[in-house]
Amino acid sequence: MASINTGFSKELTKFGAFDFNACYNCGTCTAVCSLSTGEDSFPREMIRYSVLGLEDDIKASLKPWLCYYCGECTTHCPQEADPGELMMSLRRWLTSVYDWTGLSGLLYRSLTASIIAMTLTALAVIAYAVVTNFDLEKIMHTGHIFEMVVIGTVFTVILLPNLLRMWNFIILKPGIKVPFKNYVTGLRDLVVHMFTQKRTLGCDDSQVRWFEHLILVFGYLGLLFTTVFLNWFSSESTFVIVLGYVVSIIIFTVTVIFVSERIRKRREMSKKSQPSDWMFVVWLFMMGLSAFAVRLFIDLGILQNNIWLYLAHMIILVQWALVIVPFGKWTHFLYRSFAMYFDAIKKN
């Protein structure tokens, strides 16, 4: 027996949901959705859960992650209840629910908190630079160490526990019995979806969207690999240097497309941008651009005289690694692919 929580609607609006209470349950959204199936029927059911505030049901559901936001539902909704944006808001809300620290929720709900977090991280970098007396070599060395340490720490301290919480909500709590074998066989789905986002191809809209995203993912992973493991900024290898240039160009070109889409608001999915959405694409863009510039300055031998550039890059990097990756939109990279993984192991 479930009880209604009318407060939940209000809570969700803080995550960007809008007027979904107007839904009169016609089901047009579900009918037009090209990813919805008889077994996994959405988004109407999710709207219903949200209206009634059935939080446990939403936590146990993978459906918000099964939606790839083509926006057909929003276009066709006769009540203008914006089901697409509701699904997006549920993903934001779930991200905050999975996060054990509670910081995700705080940053999603409050723009002020996000600004404070960004400012604090920036100040910390500047403070460190002051402490080192603006010693570029030392700062760059620390930057490289920082990258490796943070990747490990964020993953083990924040992201891994959050994934375990997700697993708890989805598999353990609802009492779903999954044979161990499935956890192994499901890994294939995890890898495929993590690196290809192939489910997006099921959406009816242009597949350009999928391709742009795919390129961006590879660009981003490429930059991560080149800077962290191949130590791009210190590398002498032509291959590594060129690779770094290519992937950073990819990042800032594709993100320019993404940002312009959000400004032009042509597609349903780019019409309603939350601060977290802006932050994600803009920081990604700045990261690509600043990394590119730093290496360029190194190659031109002028970085020593333009230490501010490296500091700027460092600030962007730290903000990215400490705010956006663990508590921001970056996590969709993990949750989306793990959702497909859990979905696969539940169904096998």
Binding site: M1, A2, T6, D19, C23, Y24, L52, Q79
Partner: protein, 643 residues
Amino acid sequence: MNKKLGVYICHCGGNISDYIDVEKVKAAVAGEDGVYLAKTTMFACSDATQKEMVEDIRSNNLDGIVVASCSPKLHLLTFRAVSERALLNKYNYVHANIREQGSWAHSDDKAGATEKAVSLVKAAIAKVRLARSLDPIIIPSKKAVAIIGAGVAGMRAAIELADMGCPVTLVEREYFVGGRVAQWDVMFTTNQTGKELVTRLYNEVIARDNITLLTGAEVVANSGSIGDFTLKIKVTPRYMKEKCDQNNLLKAIEACPVVVPDDFNFNITSRKAIYHNFPGEFPQYPVIDIKNCTRCGECEKICSSVDFSQQEQTVEVHVGSVVMATGFDPYTPAEGEFGYKLSDFVVTLPQFKRLTDINKDNLVYNGREIRNIAYIYCVGSRQSEGDNKYCSRYCCTSAIHASLEARNKFRNVNNFHFTRGIRTYGKQELLYAESLRKGDVYLQAYEENPPLVEVKDGQITVTINDIMTGGREISVIPDLLVLVTGMVPRADNSIASKFKLPKGRDSFFNEIHMKLRPVETVIDGVTISGACQGPKNITESVNSALSAAAKSYSFVNKGELALEPIIAGIDKDLCTWCGECEKACPFDAIKKEKQGEKEIAVINNSVCKGCGMCLPVCPVNAINLIAFSDREIESMIDALVSV
């Protein structure tokens, strides 16, 4: 008897001629006695054929015509009009139905169908040979209308009739006008209060000299018929003089020791035996409820306007037509129906509407502040097993509107609607949309699995298997449970028996034809309007009231009425009055009358419909139906059997 007759046999495209050999029929009847011309036609009802018929009748001076085609239900009036255009009395036209009773019924036997058609046409010829020209019966009709009920429908109809120059007697059983609408606060879509609507209508009513308003008045007897109804109306006095000092009145009300439930507030509050409904009620002077008054005299001591010397009166009014506008009662749930009477916090929708009106800042009922409100819809309506199978139409809108009012007027109100599907048709849909957007929660179940109400230690729990959430069991613990009750006919509907008004299966008053004659009843001269006919909202009630006013006016405006002449007639010599015909008559048209030494039956020409029910029961065959006399019918039978 040398009548010149014309016979027309219709192909009806192929509907008839595909099965019946119309040429053969024509040949078979052409030689019949008196038949001057016989024709077949592709479509008898077509303009061209109608013109041809008129031309035939005029140029050949025909004395009668037979049209053999479809059912007379379809085209009787068409060919009567053809006769009239040809200056032939329309009762000299006789119809033979060879489609529904011929080609369609016997499509498997063409020869048999043709043979039958010949017989039917010959029988029609036999009847037309004996047909007489008839003139309509003209009866006087008094130019005055009585309207029973002074709610919105009654008052609106009264104003309309008065403006057309027709004197109106407006009869209201209660002491105050306005009916149910006076009880409502702000209403959708105009945002006016019920009081505002009633005030407006009342001011218009009293501004018209030709409207006589009687309150505390009840029709106790009715005699007569269309054009001449005589109503006896009992008028109970208010026991108050018209002018009344406001201060003294309030003191007098305070002094009255009698406390009774206040039905204006659907018994959620109480009132004294001397009372008024609300400061703006009409007529604006109070009443002593004499049924409950103990005559203790306390009020009399304080207020000089109290006047126990007033007497009950019976007035008699003569009118040509009567408009019924007696309204509805809200459905009263059975004890235990969705927790009704099991908790002090289960109320009906009308009670809830009064409650939101009475409370000013906080919504408090029985000492409890009300925040979470559950509404169960379709209580007493749409019962597939129960008596009220109909949808009451107004309740979805009214409940949503009331819930929004509560939400807007009071703080922290949460609404939970347990529905069977929302029916806010037309513009009322806007209200539903607003309610959804404001965050009201709607849950839905089918009739066979209704919400379950449990009352335990003063706590109400409403549980539903919500079909919108895949049948999930969801429960709400409300502070107040509102049963959204529909409309039922007035509990005291004795007025119907005084007019012999027929009721439908739902027990509301019945119209003749739902679509084409929506305000007339089978009792000529009596029209129906508003919710006495079935559930209606105010717009619909006023629509039907204006329609009924126009229809009633058409009965009385000329001062006389032309009635169909095909009625029964009594042979005074043969009748010995046994009373069988009176019993058989469904229209109350036959009465016993003394003529000299003898008692005989007499037909009321203005009431008789010519149905013929009285004919077979007469043991001495003293009754004949004009145009269907024994001679005519026997001649038709002869024609049918002689083939």
